[in-house]
């Protein structure tokens, strides 16, 4: 019965959907933390706001790419037809 479950493509597509959601959570947590520390640092020292903003955007791009990687894989699974 379990094997029949595995072979059924609809469970794979559901897994892909769940995976995409988890990727979004991961990206949200990661970028949220970056933004949070950047905000805190900018509040402590307003003169360094520009430098911090630049680094923040770059690191956010790096974290986002990993989440996008998971999105691409979930997409590839969801367009498979068994």
């Amino acid at each position: 019965m379990l094997f029949a479950l595995l072979v059924d493509i609809s469970y794979a597509i559901m897994g892909a959907g769940i995976g995409a959601g988890l990727a979004a959570i991961g990206a949200g947590i990661g970028i949220g933390r970056i933004g949070g520390s950047a905000m805190e640092a900018m509040a402590r020292q307003p003169e360094s706001a520009n430098k911090l903003q630049g680094s923040m955007l770059i690191i956010a791009a790096l974290v986002e790419v990993i989440a996008l990687f998971a999105i691409v894989i979930c997409f590839l699974i969801s367009i498979r037809e068994a």
Partner: protein, 341 residues
């Protein structure tokens, strides 16, 4: 009255942005919905993102650019023909001179192995990118050469801050005193990726920097330059890490060797994933309107697509910056001379 005219310019910009991103949606979708069948979103998206032997701009007789197919096999030699021969009038694949298109490959019916050197969509896009870069930089360089004392104007004044940014913020601090040797490569890398990313966002454009072969080549160049400029310190740190007890050195050796390969690999995957995923997100949102077949979905989806396209422009710049930054970091680490403890 003055309040309205104050908002006129941003309103116009937003409306223009809306129109720019609505163009790609007109294309393929007509074909499926006119037949009354379900639109295969996966196919549409994969066709936009993957490479192909034809460049499809819009549905219609003149909307497809049939690019030349160049195949080489040891039995039949080099054969060049238009890819129009591989299709019949209903866009099905037909064999031509024994060559048949199977998905994105070209196979010969006799089973001979063919080397596909065709000008595909991404190759044509690469030529376009190269032509654009040549035009921009030859113009700028020519202006500087002709009149070095004159203040920059026009295209020069647009490019100069960016070039100086790459030199002063990316290359000089990371590579150190010998940066001038690597500056041409870094500038080419940065602008190739930047122009490639931005060109890919235009309607009807091919996904150039999201092609894993293109990013593989760029990462391979960085790999070659890093390892050929590596000096004694660099290699000794990899093979025989100083200041570490002997058993640990044996363990560190394979780890460092793998690290030599994973660093460019990360560069390649990062750029590919960022750009391809960006395109997939934009295309998925556009296809939403055709899946639901409702006008209001189209409106909301278009608003989202405008927002995400703006983010994608930012991502285009950031990915170019990150690729160049990490390349210069790796080269800087390879050529740095420091006094040992």
């Amino acid at each position: 009255m003055s309040a309205f005219s104050h908002y006129l310019k941003p309103l116009f910009t937003v409306a223009l942005a809306f129109l720019l991103v609505s163009v790609p949606a007109f294309a393929q979708e007509h074909e499926a919905s006119s037949h009354g069948e379900e639109l295969n979103v996966g196919d549409v998206i994969m066709n936009h993102v993957k490479d192909d032997h034809v460049w499809h701009f819009w549905d219609g007789h003149y909307g497809t650019l049939y690019l030349p197919v160049i195949v080489y096999s040891s039995e039949r030699g080099l054969e060049i023909f238009s890819s129009r021969n591989l299709f019949d009038d209903h866009h099905n694949y037909v064999p031509y001179k024994g060559y048949r298109k199977e998905g994105s490959r070209i196979v010969h019916e006799s089973g001979a192995s063919v080397v596909d050197l065709s000008i595909t969509k991404n190759v044509a896009m690469l030529f376009l990118n190269a032509a654009l870069m040549l035009f921009v930089f030859l113009t700028v360089a020519g202006r500087y050469k002709k009149n070095p004392a004159k203040a920059p104007s026009g295209l020069q004044s647009f490019m100069e801050p960016v070039i100086l940014f790459v030199r002063d913020e990316i290359v000089k601090p990371n590579i150190g005193p010998k940066y001038e040797k690597y500056l041409p490569y870094m500038l080419t890398l940065f602008f190739f990726i930047l122009f490639g990313n931005l060109l890919g966002l235009l309607p009807g454009a091919a996904n150039l920097t999201g092609n894993i072969a293109v990013t593989l080549t760029l990462a391979f160049f960085t790999f070659l330059i890093t390892n050929f400029s590596g000096n004694r310190n660099y290699w000794s740190h990899i093979f025989w890490t100083p200041g570490v007890p002997l058993p640990l050195r044996i363990i560190i050796l394979p780890v460092e060797l793998i690290g030599v390969f994973t660093k460019p690999f990360a560069l390649l995957i990062r750029l590919f994933a960022a750009i391809t995923a960006g395109h997939i997100v934009i295309l998925s949102l556009l296809c939403l309107a055709f899946v639901f077949r409702a006008y209001w979905v189209g409106g909301v989806a278009s608003a989202f697509v405008v927002l995400i396209s703006l983010i994608e422009i930012l991502v285009a710049g950031i990915q170019a910056y990150v690729f160049t930054l990490f390349s210069s970091l790796y080269i800087g680490m390879a050529i740095e001379e420091h006094d040992h403890h």
